[in-house]
């Protein structure tokens, strides 16, 4: 994004100033940050309106109905049913707007129920297959792993064996930990839950470790922009 035209240069300087205004929040809440935040929220809403119209209303409502109306005489009977169904969907969608009226807000239950029904109906079988069956299948792994194809006890791959065993034990212990339907007072229950917690802590620690990299990547990108595109880019634009 290094500037090569005058308006790009203005843009890069504006972006840099806005970035520094946002960074100023690190020291203290101040008017510059609040102004920038107001512009950010307003811009996001504006962009949301534009995207909702051009990516949603226009291709899915305006264009199909324009086409249908233009060719209305040649449509077979099935397309009339299709048009009626789309009109019904449009009416259902418009019912969402009833949320702004206190007396008529109950009308928004219909489109909400429609969307929830669709999502649930589609999601249940796919969810079972993707998240339960496949993950359970991946947990049914050999607890003892051999280095070759033959079962030769002298050739156990110890790292893989310990790993697989710990994976299966870990899945069962964590699932057991999340089972709150009965009190866990006996030694076995408490020990299993504790082991489950240990696995969870290792998992969350790994998540935190990766989160550090993710956050720093974002900051690195921003500092790159300030250094390469703003300062060095501006100097290059003026021929230095």
């Amino acid at each position: 994004m290094a500037p090569d035209t005058f308006m790009d240069l203005i843009g890069v300087w504006l972006a840099a100033v806005l970035s520094l205004c946002v960074f100023s929040f690190l020291f203290r809440d101040n008017i510059l940050y609040r102004l920038t935040e107001a512009v950010f929220v307003g811009g996001s809403v504006g962009i949301g309106i534009v995207l909702t119209f051009w990516n949603g209303f226009y291709p899915k409502l305006v264009v199909p109905f324009q086409k249908f109306i233009a060719a209305v005489a040649q449509q077979p009977a099935q397309r009339w049913v299709w048009a009626a169904y789309m009109l019904l969907s449009l009416c259902l969608g418009v019912l969402f707007l009833s949320r702004f009226s206190r007396k008529q807000a109950w009308l928004s239950r219909f489109p909400m129920a429609y969307l929830i029904g669709l999502g649930t109906g589609m999601g249940i079988p796919l969810g079972i297959q993707t998240f339960i069956f496949e993950q359970t299948k991946a947990t049914l792994i050999p607890l003892v792993v051999f280095q070759g194809e033959l079962v030769q006890w002298a050739q156990i791959n110890w790292i893989a064996t310990l790993g697989n065993t710990s994976l299966v034990v870990g899945v069962l212990c964590v699932l057991y930990y999340f089972f709150f339907s009965f009190k866990k007072t006996d030694l076995f229950s408490r020990a299993t839950s504790r082991l489950g917690v240990a696995y969870l802590m290792l998992g969350f620690g790994a998540s935190f470790g990766y989160t550090v990299m993710a956050r720093i990547s974002l900051l690195t990108g921003r500092i790159d922009f300030l250094k390469e595109d703003w300062i060095l880019g501006s100097l290059r634009y003026f021929g230095w």
Binding site: D4, F6, M7, D8, G11, V12, L14, L18, E37, A38, G42, V45, G46, G48, I49, F53, W54, G56, F57, K60, P64, S89, G93, F96, R99, F100, W106, S108, P111, A113, Y114, G117, L118, M122, I124, G127, I128, F131, Q135, A138, G163, S166, G170, V171, V174, L175, F178, A198, Y199, M201, L202, F204, G205, A206, G209, M213, R215, L218, L219, R222
Partner: protein, 271 residues
């Protein structure tokens, strides 16, 4: 009627979608799916509009009642109106109608296709440029404008204002993460110790620290990288897999309750 009809709609639509997986007839697999998908997109678009309208309503209310900070709400609404206008009306003039690149494809002497790029840089500042409305045009595999901007003002705003603000707001998290690491990662219990050890191993394992500090090797791989991969492959995978299965089972139970009408989350509309 107000409670029973939505419940009926939910059950019927859910059942129709479940049919997809059990009825291989082309009408169910193709036509019904297409109708339902299109219909859901149309209804869903209004749901997006509700979110935006609520935000505008909230800021409008703040201005009307002169609540603290109403001045900033004015700026918010003005910016929203400006961006929505330039995005919806797509004015042909604007600051970035300045650059067009053409790729010219023509056979050379040996018969293979040679591409040359012609770059035309025109500085405009809110001037009308009739070329700004051209899109990619293929004329017998010859000249083809590669980057013609149809929404110059909106694109300029998006690139230099919106993207900058979004990126910078999110990168503040890096600073907060570091202070959190300093303040909160304390060995207060064995669980916290485990979490911290795993975090430190993964943090060091991700970067080529062994290039600067000798950290040893296991199986030809840097020690911390090997340990990191071990943590990711086994205890982390075990924990996350259990969470995935648990959440999926919970979701399945909730889904069945919704489809059978035991749970009715859509009844939040009020009477």
């Amino acid at each position: 009627m107000r409670a029973k009809l939505p419940m009926l709609i939910c059950m019927v639509t859910g059942a129709l979608l479940l049919l997809q997986f059990f009825v291989p007839h082309p009408f169910v697999q193709d036509t019904l799916l297409e109708w339902i998908s299109n219909s859901a997109m149309i209804v869903g678009v209004f749901a997006l509009a509700i979110g935006l309208a609520s935000l505008l309503h909230m800021h409008g209310n703040k201005i009307k009642r002169r609540l603290p900070g109403w001045g900033f709400s004015v700026i918010t609404l003005v910016t929203a109106a400006f961006v929505a206008t330039i995005g919806l009306l797509k004015p042909a003039w604007g600051p970035t109608v300045a650059r067009e690149q053409y790729v010219q494809c023509e056979p050379d002497l040996h018969g293979s296709i040679r591409t040359t790029r012609v770059v035309r840089v025109v500085h405009t500042l809110f001037g009308f440029d009739p070329q700004s409305s051209t899109t990619n045009v293929l004329i017998g595999a010859a000249i083809m404008p590669v980057r013609a901007n149809r929404t110059p003002l909106y694109s300029w705003y998006f690139t230099y204002v919106h993207s900058a603000l979004v990126s910078t707001t999110f990168c503040l998290l890096a600073f907060y993460m570091l202070t959190a690491a300093y303040r909160a990662m304390r060995i207060k219990s064995w669980e916290a110790a485990l979490l911290m050890v795993a975090a430190v191993i993964v943090i060091i394992g991700q970067v080529p620290a062994d290039q600067f500090v000798p950290l040893g090797h296991i199986n030809g791989v840097s020690t911390f990288e090997w340990l990191k991969q071990l943590i990711m492959d086994y205890p982390n995978s075990a924990a996350k897999r259990s969470i995935i299965i648990g959440v999926a089972l919970g979701g399945l139970a909730t889904g069945i309750k919704i489809l059978t009408g035991i749970e009715r989350p859509y009844l939040g509309g009020g009477d």
